[in-house]
Symmetry: D2
Subunit: 252 residues, 4 copies
Amino acid sequence: MTTSPPARLRVVVWNENVHERSRPEVARIYPEGLHRCIAAALTEAGLADVSTATLDEPEHGLAAERLDATDVLVWWGHAAHDRVNDAVVDRVQRRVLEGMGFVALHSAHESKPFRRLLGTPCTLRWREDGAAERVWVVQPGHPLAEGVGDGFWIDQEEMYGEPFAIPEPDELVFISWFAGGEVFRSGCCWRRGGGRIVYFRPGHETFATYRQPEVRRVVANAVRYAAPRTTPLVDRGSEWVAPAVEARRERG
Amino acid sequence: MTTSPPARLRVVVWNENVHERSRPEVARIYPEGLHRCIAAALTEAGLADVSTATLDEPEHGLAAERLDATDVLVWWGHAAHDRVNDAVVDRVQRRVLEGMGFVALHSAHESKPFRRLLGTPCTLRWREDGAAERVWVVQPGHPLAEGVGDGFWIDQEEMYGEPFAIPEPDELVFISWFAGGEVFRSGCCWRRGGGRIVYFRPGHETFATYRQPEVRRVVANAVRYAAPRTTPLVDRGSEWVAPAVEARRERG
Amino acid sequence: MTTSPPARLRVVVWNENVHERSRPEVARIYPEGLHRCIAAALTEAGLADVSTATLDEPEHGLAAERLDATDVLVWWGHAAHDRVNDAVVDRVQRRVLEGMGFVALHSAHESKPFRRLLGTPCTLRWREDGAAERVWVVQPGHPLAEGVGDGFWIDQEEMYGEPFAIPEPDELVFISWFAGGEVFRSGCCWRRGGGRIVYFRPGHETFATYRQPEVRRVVANAVRYAAPRTTPLVDRGSEWVAPAVEARRERG
Amino acid sequence: MTTSPPARLRVVVWNENVHERSRPEVARIYPEGLHRCIAAALTEAGLADVSTATLDEPEHGLAAERLDATDVLVWWGHAAHDRVNDAVVDRVQRRVLEGMGFVALHSAHESKPFRRLLGTPCTLRWREDGAAERVWVVQPGHPLAEGVGDGFWIDQEEMYGEPFAIPEPDELVFISWFAGGEVFRSGCCWRRGGGRIVYFRPGHETFATYRQPEVRRVVANAVRYAAPRTTPLVDRGSEWVAPAVEARRERG
């Protein structure tokens, strides 16, 4: 009996892996691909079972058997949201409701699974100006913020500005300040069914954001936080139940 | 300047209108159709602009121009969820995010627009036994509960039981007690974008539930509560913004 | 039957009225006192029954009969939180739970009634540097933000920074950006019992913030939003109930 | 780096210990005292560092040094709420905000620390009729509900009925059905500062409720769930910060 995450979380880092192969300036920063950079951050943080999947693999690397054996799915997408197959989106949604964690990074705010799970457009304002971002912790003591004090700077990032068209988060953990005058809810948590959803803002492909220790730490925190909390749920659909529970009790 | 609902709310009551035409026992109770019975309740409650729409009409009676001129949409569906066109569902979702209220009644818990907006399966347990239901007010002072004291009985209803697979409501207003031993979150409110979503449980087609004064009162309360609170939003999609707001300010 | 605010909201603006009389630089900006400046903003916005109360009046101007006839109480305090009598705090708390709105402005974050109602210290970081503040709307379509577009600048204000030690707001409407690099949850709403609580950040006594049209608008929005939604509740204490509701029903 | 609860949670079970000594029918059921019965349940569940404290001890057994070394405080009180010293209540509140978990059982709904932390009266309806209670799980997959399936019966309990005057829970996990026709939100969770607060309804002193395996399991679940999630917070009070974070950054 425990409510701790399983000792050996099975984590899959999904990446569309498009920019890295089409834009030299991205390939220069992430020659191994964003997915492998992020996966390495998780491994360094002590997570022992981390693998990757990408858009071009069969079923985008997310076949049913693999997803069924995944505890937390990390998602990075941007240019190819529309190329993600709806059957895979259905599957991700189902798995989150059963208890799988889902960590959406940066431009995954408009990814199909994220929008599907939240029911809103998840749109925002943006400017790719490479100015400074300050990530502030607004809920000290939240596991997502462990190890990053009261916040941290990212020297160069894309700006994301409010309004961010999401349902009110169950827990708001980070708010970003941008040098250009904008603010953004950068660390948001929701529960849906048995699963936890985390959105963490930083990580534009043209900056080395995922090489920064604080960012790596928060992504690892997010994975641990989003770990299934109990035995997985099974959605049995709506269900006819008879006789009444009270009648069953009386019969013993 | 006001935050009150518009003087003349434009309300559309949508009904799949299937049972009433195929099952004599339903036709006997609701010969005019559930939609007209519900619409009459709203008119009696002082709402002056109430109309109806049904599945069989072109575009299910929910063409873009009509929805754009609707402040609150009430939804009753059961047997024909799958026959609702996805383009209409898209449109309902968009309008709710812009500010239109959406009131889902009874078996609309599994309707496409409700599930789309919430992102979860919205499944439950059920038993059509016609036993008694007690609807309890858990948030006295909430507009949804106005005029019904601490709750009311419904002599015969279908049982709906927990777990109800919804996101945690922003406001939980009613909980039902069933004679068979079950409980259910019967009055739930969520905000999504500019719009408000209400779920109200009672209203099985084989019982005269929508003829009961307290139920009629709550449906009217729900419509008023779900009324748009301000001028409608427009989703402009994600948007590139430059120069930075700080730069614009400095230039005057 | 209506869920709209009463036609003629009875509003009391409370101010400790200390700085205005002890510090010439404050008296110069608010010679009439902050309470009268704020009350005038409300009257201009169309609220017809606005009066003021201050610390030095008997019972701080908040005798039971007066509070019982108040729909929304606006609170500004800073230097004299400790001088507010606990019996008056009890009364304000009781009235909020019954349905009275409570709008806490700026340094009222540490006022006794605000802390009592929220149960947390409501502490924050601050710097009285008179630099620029940008107030951003994060929930477009929320009544609190009506009429201020996507936000507004305040040229000179005191900085308030996160973490702000509050319970997660039920609705977060504004986030502020400060020129010094900080952010703050500047517009927060909670429900407690029948009442609504709003916190709105701007309004340091050494700046002419409450003369700015957008700020005046938001304070008026907050008062209308916090208006009682239904007939007032009465807290009867915990209550013994017998016979059971089910038994009462069976008897008729 | 971990977000798991500390390996060896330090748990204190507090009990006013009044009924057990003054009413023979309670002494017969809990001869060892409710605190020792509950503590034994926790020990059986694998918690290794469980101790007890009672009203009559100096400082109610909750001296500052002891509370500072407590991870989760379980509270049972009923007849003697008023005899709890306010200085101890202050201390419990401070510790919860720093991260200590607080589990309020049954009639602790009106205890001073619970009301202080929530800011509402926490009143309810009640009837000590010893009829059956069915506890339903409404959030399957929540750690509080681990191991109890979709709910369980308690053959004899005191009835608690809605409305329960609490702030909307952050997570609602259990709803109770009572044979007399009432319902109640029986498992509620809130976050305040760094700490988690759990309310769990069952446990009237005249019934052997805390001897029932499912109830013992849920209390143990609650303690584990309420465990501090990260290093403790320190409330430094509101704090003057200069120079601005942006200026500090520029200077390196």
